[in-house]
Symmetry: C3
């Protein structure tokens, strides 16, 4: 039995992004040498999620897969994009002071919608690894979602594999 | 330490189904010989979820547990059942062509609501295994949910156990 | 490779509570002696969830972090607090009889909103452990959420670590 860790980065946009990271995760699994176990794809960012979804084939004008755009539409009704200060209770004054201490602009904290959307979708996906491959079925793909709409950022995706 | 994999199938319906699979999962755990570790119950289908919920005791005329019917009601408001082509952006024309190449009818792709509902609920549940038993508390049961309403299907449930 | 289990309790309230349990989980990890692997923080209660979220700094008059209050507001629209018997289909008559057999008051079962909210948010969080520490990024904190609004209770939080 062993444990292997890998990570890689990707660049997000100032709109919700959904990166199919299946190839990078498969590469990490192959490099781990583990053929049976549990693989965890994990977001250390609290405005991001990891999802398993069917590939949509079609994309919209922005390059977003249509099924993911439908997801954004549903989430928009549930936790609307933060367009005005005070729309949500967070961020409050102490949070803005703390953010300033990290050299963050106050407006960067107006991403409450992303915090809410991402915690509903979840931070990670665990996948069974059997005979050297992830069990993803005929259609499953692993996506890294970034819901933060206040700034484009480099994001880190974590892969942890436990098995033999 | 060892890793054990098991799977079993069930038959879904053309309405949301919630199968209590706790007995099958317990059987897979017992057969694994693992007494301490992490057990993952996993859906390889992207219109299905695995949930842990209290048993409802009462069922409606369709046999659906009342608490699960309440869940469907909430999800219906969030991501309404796809009743008309074009209600959601997915499936687009490329997806329909790809589906035809797999001998799928175009109407089978009108399950966008199921893709959305299931990704919000999640693909799997991880459960601690301690002294030979899953920790499910007094009321927890493991359910396999199939949200696809366009066709009844045989579904595969995966159980992966890592431990000793 | 080894498996270590720990648990601790906390006291919830008759309103949604969000306890930052990161210190207790870190303590359980340190006591486990495991430095690389997967750590699972898990709720055995079906009206509770485990979440990873940014700390909000500010709190409201009830002591609830503002970002968590925003989450409650979103969930209130999705699955409203159960205020009248019959608002949800669950609990039905058989459930009330079964609850009475456990010496539970009928009104204790009017927590359908909590069952729904918690299953949407999820029962657990899996976190990579690398070089002795959980990967939580700059801002991630682990919260135990209790959505049950019918009674205050002592709740058990489970921590399972698999690794080496």
């Amino acid at each position: 039995m062993s444990v292997r860790h890998a990570s890689f980065t990707l660049q997000s946009d100032r709109r919700p992004t959904f990166d199919d990271v299946t190839p990078q995760v498969e590469e990490a699994l192959a490099a781990s040498g583990i053929t049976n176990g549990i693989l965890l794809v994990y977001s250390q960012h609290t405005t991001c999620s990891v999802l398993i979804q069917e590939a949509s084939d079609d994309v919209d004008y922005w390059g977003t897969e249509l099924l993911m755009q439908d997801l954004v539409t549903v989430l928009e009704a549930l936790a609307p994009t933060c367009r005005t200060e005070g729309q949500y209770r967070h961020p409050g004054p102490k949070h803005i002071v703390a953010a300033a201490g990290r050299d963050e602009l106050p407006s960067w904290s107006l991403n409450t919608d992303a915090h809410l959307r991402s915690v509903i979708l979840g931070r990670s996906q665990a996948v069974p690894v059997v005979d050297g491959a992830m069990i993803l079925g005929e259609f499953g793909r692993i996506y890294f979602a970034d819901f933060d709409q206040v700034r484009a950022r480099e994001r880190t995706v974590r892969v942890q594999v436990v098995g033999e």
